[in-house]
Symmetry: D2
């Protein structure tokens, strides 16, 4: 059994990790930390875990953390980078679900996250944990930067077009995306009140969202040149789910359905739906799955790719467990025996 610790377990990413790890056959949950809730039983805060997770939150003491084989960070941005070097040195593997190790360029990180990076030397080592792109490097990694939710949905949707060269490196791309409110986390904040976001819909972060440089880096790494990407996220009046509607110009002539099916034929967690399909976010609720559909409306030059994930699973905790499976040499789908909750 792998001894696993979670740093920062009081948010939605934390409770989702706990749900998934409770069902994982090879994991023993060693500890879960929370500075503010130390002493509280986890199942008292999250009653869905009653009878399944029997431990209490503890202080995030570095020494104790080192007793784990692998540690997940489900902390706010800027926390993991202060603890990770010490853990790696002690031989502990790390999956960071925050953004600390996602951008390779420390100056870009500082620009978007507003503070200098605490361990820039690790940014080159850290592997960006999108298994469908970096599977082999993840298998060897000590430190995995778990992708953001929007970057996962957007990257998986654009990858075949870019890898195939059907869309030129510098061509304009548009990602019009929408997320359920659990993406905003579990911290007290007026904009995430149900009185504010219930029965309403709006765009946000149009001027610049932190997932923009992340998506640019992923797609740019594949294309060889940074894409001309416009990314507009929207807030949905619901709890879980991300939907990405992707637009690219690509002259008719190629069989996009075949392209997508071949690209993801071996991927357990990416489902290319039949031509004409319209994926719903609920079709992936609670599961580590991305469902894609590719359209060419009216046979024109604009391709529309639809991509859905559960922001807390394939967009966060599920992908983190998938990365753990790879890092430990297990079957990539170990512990994922579930079906999306529909309706």
């Amino acid at each position: 059994m792998l001894k696993v610790g979670i740093v920062g377990g009081t948010g939605y990413t934390g409770v989702e990790l706990l749900r998934l790890l409770a069902l994982h056959p090879e994991v023993e949950l060693g500890m879960i930390t929370s500075r503010s809730e130390a002493g509280t039983r986890v199942s008292e805060m999250f009653p869905n875990l009653r009878g399944r997770v029997d431990i209490a939150f503890t202080e995030p003491a570095p020494e104790a953390l080192k007793s784990n084989d692998l540690v997940f960070f489900a902390t706010p941005n800027g926390t993991a980078m202060r603890l990770v070097p010490e853990l790696l040195e002690a031989g502990v593997k790390v999956v960071d679900l925050a953004a600390d190790f996602r951008l390779r360029d420390p100056l870009l990180w500082e620009q978007w996250y507003g503070l200098p990076h605490a361990c820039p030397e690790l940014l080159q080592e850290a592997v960006y944990g999108l298994p469908e792109l970096h599977r082999e490097r993840i298998r060897e990694a000590r430190l995995v930067a778990n992708p953001g939710c929007y970057p996962t949905a957007v990257s998986l949707g654009f990858l075949p077009l870019i890898e195939s060269g059907l869309v030129a490196p510098g061509a304009p791309l548009i990602a019009s995306c929408a997320s359920g409110v659990s993406g905003a986390g579990r911290k007290a904040a007026v904009p995430a009140l149900m009185g504010e976001c219930g029965e309403s819909f709006k765009a946000y972060g149009v001027a610049g969202h932190r997932h923009l440089p992340e998506i640019r880096q992923v797609l740019g790494g594949v294309a060889g040149a940074e894409p001309d990407l416009t990314f507009v996220p929207h807030l949905l009046p619901m709890v879980r789910g991300i939907h990405a509607t992707l637009y690219a110009r690509c002259p008719p002539g190629s069989d996009l359905q075949a392209l997508y099916e071949q690209r993801y034929a071996q991927e357990a967690f990416v489902d290319v739906m039949p031509a004409g399909a319209l994926p719903e976010t609920r079709s992936v609720r609670g599961v580590n799955q991305c469902r894609l559909a590719v359209h060419r409306p009216q046979g024109g030059d604009t391709v529309v790719v639809l991509s859905v994930i559960d922001n807390l699973v394939k967009g966060a905790a599920g992908q983190a467990v998938q990365n753990m499976n790879l890092m430990c040499g297990w079957a990539e789908d170990l512990g994922f025996d579930s079906v999306a909750l529909l309706p």
Copy 2:
């Protein structure tokens, strides 16, 4: 034109007051205060008011407040009682939408609200602003305690049974109620996050909710003895609306439909629906209306009364404007020319 001020205008009660006063033909909005948002334009925080309310929040300076003819307090509990005596002395009329003047007994107030009352001498003068019960006293009042949302829905539902004596003073009463999340206000708090209360339902305050002594006082005042009331509120995964399902024992034989229709025949803001009706909260969305239906399931001894209001209108700001109309000698329905938004 009546010059009106609002103290504490950044919450849902405040914005709803602004919406209603913007449509009122006899009111000039003099000022709206907010310590934290002084200087911010009201319509910047609440874009529905763009083009309708053109002022900015100001500091709640007592001298400035005295320049109004009437002041609404839309503040947290315990704020109004510190300012009201001075305003009354200056000849300003006051409608308090918080709980400061709702309970007549200062010890009971202290017990439920956790701090000593700052002006207990005003508790006897203050009129409990349920026009359907205290209309004449409200007309003469300097200080009106605007009822709570649950107490409004529950009291209007039980009144005919109690006033008629069909339900004996000490008999057990049950009020099983549910509210949209706007009832929790617009302050940052984890339990009101959409991630917490979306797609879920639960009871709260079962051990004791502050509206319990308030309802007891209203019904007890009518019955001549405190009722044996069990009050269980629940939180609905929606924004606006209160639904009260009321249960009382009352032997068959009396025509309850007629009783209710007669009791409220002259009331503009209470609508007794036909026998068998099932009022929906959306049927009163945005309007100052209570809709009631009375049932005797299976012809048995238990009477079921269904009562719906919009918690922010008849349960708060609308009733406050109704009280203002009475205090100013205007038609009670002045400024209320609207129709509920359905769907």
Copy 3:
């Protein structure tokens, strides 16, 4: 492997059965029927089943159904009773998720369901499938009548009070309940449109709901006399979940918390929460669990029991699988290795 068939698989109960059976280690899904959708792949209608359920709907031919070891009926009321006798005769076990075999009295059935019963002789043999009450009889049964969703939540909540005699047989009981809209099924009907039931709340079926005689029968069977039950269901603006708020008179003096804990100490699927707890429907979303909390507000004579289930799991398909496990001599919790989806 047990060969299992499902009759009527296009509703929410059907897709939930498919989700649970897809995860069950001892079941082989032989067939799923639908007259209207014969030929359509199941995963085309329910994309959450893509990659998990690979069969298509077929016509409900009796001969084919007989090739199964066990058949679930997820059909409208009045369908199962026409096919069940033939299946039982052929040695097939049956779990009916509709109401056909829930009431023991054929006249009562006819009164509430509006047509004569097709096989009244089976009503005495059919076992009412509430394992927490009839476990031993279910183990021996050929035909199990799976309980309704409300009756499950209400019965589990009242049972300890009634079995213990703390509430007298004829005493008044109130069940104020609320259900997500999936309880109304997946058939096209105006009242279940999101435009009708979104952002609103209402009572329904106050004059008489079909689950009333069912609950009366369960509780009456335990008490030895029919209870004086008032049952008021309400429709919640959400998809999944039932919440029952139960009221009974019971003089202080007994330790209700201990009573409930002892009653359900051995039950894997009933969780008595700590004193003071307020169960949320989301804490059981997707799992075969009932969570209960018992309160005595203000130390008075009225006891309040809160009971939550997922209407599609413990209230339908999950309980059906639990019954199948018992009928087959398997561990009662076989195939239920999951954690509720929160948030």
Copy 4:
């Protein structure tokens, strides 16, 4: 008083028309028809109208309809075109809220609506009722084709870019839009069940939505050439509101904020928000308003316009009343004295 009739009043557009007309000072509601509900009181079906609309549905008899001065059609597509010629001949003005008179080309109409047009000779006379574009022609019109909901939001958002020539006639345009479920109407249909569309999000009509040719016609009429428009609508898990996120390429250099403010400076029902604003659908809930914001993310070549309306008001019934006001020579904002319901 203008005598007004409504044909087809049982849908959401119908009840919204009734709400608005009940508040209109110059209108007398003469009749409202419904073949299926003839005899039913309107307020029985729509309890928000209790005390405000006192008539019952009647059969849609042409002779009776001719007794009105103006008739609104709130019927399914293909109905109005059978009755309109006769009404016009009788001197009755008509506003059709369906699509019968929106497309000028009868062959295009037949292609998208699946049946031949019944009075193609009227297609040239009918004025497309977007007052911000065709105000003067609407004033003179006998027959106004009230725009679709998406076309209203999209056209108002793109107009300044196209009229100004900043976006070239044939340039690619993207309209990524989302609508609340009331846009699907009030007819029983599985996809509009709350069990289907609650807590989920999806695109629909990607291959071709009937509003596509309508938007193309509007924008093409302004540009002088049909635009290369990609239109992807999505279904929101909420009741009211449309949000359009519009993308166009337009090299930096022009002051877009000034362009938009000037274009709509005289428009009572179009509100250009300050630079950087993010309009929410709830900010127009219940009112005849379009709120716009224009962005140029990262100072790049892609312009993003955000446009929100209430699909039932500015997207349907409100715009119809606005058109009526123009056709009758009244102030354009007569009867629109209300404020959006927020929260």
